[in-house]
Symmetry: C2
Subunit: 240 residues, 2 copies
DNA sequence: GCAAAAGTGTTGTCCTTACACCCATGC
DNA sequence: GCATGGGTGTAAGGACAACACTTTTGC
């Protein structure tokens, strides 16, 4: 197309676009949560017969004239009743045969939710938190999408304070460390971990203690989002 | 849509997909190069009259049943005559009014080319290397796409040895440092820069010297891709 | 001989890692 | 009193930042 030598200008862009093949476009939300020391992902049962019994991401078509980000927000709202959720575009998946109903290109969005804070208000299609570790076959290419997003998350959480979205407002250092260990799949030294966060000086001691733990209760902290935003660095690294 | 309470399975996915609105889908290639100590980007003149005179990225529709990655490769081949080029998906842009001809969603791909190595064989539509610094208004939302990709590049180049794609096979440390300074827009200490690369031990001394420089010639090096691939780390950081 | 860039080392600081003991609480 | 995790400090090594002088080459 348009490899012409002369600068022949196209006067009617609409006509040009009408010559393009079109595809169905969807968004899929990969919503991570954390509970019982396990990373979870929010799934529903696929309602396609070919994928009978398999789990599926929360997805839907993008409406005419709808922004992609807005579509992802809408899907989340419609499926779970939650809004005002942090959501990031991760990748676009366009394998021509990824959907049995014809070509459907999907844009994957990722979000991290506090399982306690966001009660699921809608439970249609068996919406539930599924353990990431035990996730096997899924509908469409959704396993691939989840894997991609999980890798994205592992990298992302080392550079940005996303983890705090997965915890209660007030959390103990142990909970924070468990979160990092669960997501990254590695063991971290407790003293160094605490020292690290102490030196960052981004945790606010709320002068409260854990309740109902069968051992010495730990102090609770909040994340200092304000200070973090003020001091954001432009030069990157392992840190945040 | 499918917020039904009962598990009524859909038997005909094709019929379902046919109810989705469809959009035109394109790929746009943001090709960075490096020349005369400046970061450049490969552009053509837009052939839409509404954008008369403005610069545009190398883009084209995605064909029916064409992979997104393949489409990006094809665009690059068709526009420049180059193939076997490293290309990465960066972001999907779906603003409903980004194209004057109707809704066109585009997936941006980024590549980094060695300007010397890849002679432009096709020069249609005034294909040329444009200085990134002097880039002003562009057709469509292409300025936004370029800015996004440039930010992506700055981050990416700190974590991956992409820079070597922009240099000749054999390069001097000065050239390498110039590249980093140009891309990141900062000054780096020469001794520390050299020490850093020396300690990484990923450069092969080819026992040659620069030619035709009006000063003391520097040693030339090659990047040790093999060793890099062997020792890739899984734990990330500023390093690579 | 002069201009221009190549090449090279040291020191202080900070960050990271590895590692072991006492403390507070629930039961 | 015992089990469980909370809380703490130090020493060594490695990475990074700051800094100046001599050398080689082209002209």
């Amino acid at each position: 197309m348009s490899t012409s030598q002369q600068p022949v200008l196209i006067k009617n862009p609409t006509k040009l676009v009408s010559t393009y093949p079109t595809v169905a476009l969807t968004v899929d939300c990969v919503i991570f949560g954390f509970e019982a020391n396990q990373l979870k992902v929010l799934l529903i049962r696929s309602d396609l017969e070919v994928y009978k019994g398999m789990w599926s991401l929360l997805g839907d078509m993008v409406k005419r004239d709808e922004e992609l980000d807005a579509a992802a927000q809408r899907v989340l709202l419609q499926r779970t009743g939650m809004n005002d959720v942090y959501l990031e575009q991760v990748h676009c998946f366009g394998n021509p045969s990824r959907h049995p109903g014809g070509r459907v290109v999907t844009v994957a969005y990722c979000s991290l939710l506090n399982v306690q804070h966001h009660q699921l208000k809608i439970l249609d299609n068996e919406l539930h938190w599924h353990s990431l570790a035990s996730l096997q076959e899924m509908a469409f290419d959704h396993k691939e999408v989840v894997d991609y997003c999980y890798n994205w998350l592992k990298k992302r959480i080392q550079e940005h304070p996303l983890g705090f979205n997965l915890l209660p407002d007030k959390f103990s250092l142990r909970e924070l460390q468990n979160l990092y260990e669960a997501i990254l799949g590695i063991q971290l030294d407790r003293r160094n971990f605490r020292k690290k966060f102490a030196s960052m000086d981004l945790l606010i001691d709320v002068n409260e203690m854990e309740q109902d733990v069968p051992h010495r209760p730990g102090k609770l902290y909040k994340f200092n989002y304000e200070k973090y935003e003020r001091n954001k660095r432009t030069w990157i690294g392992i840190d945040f």
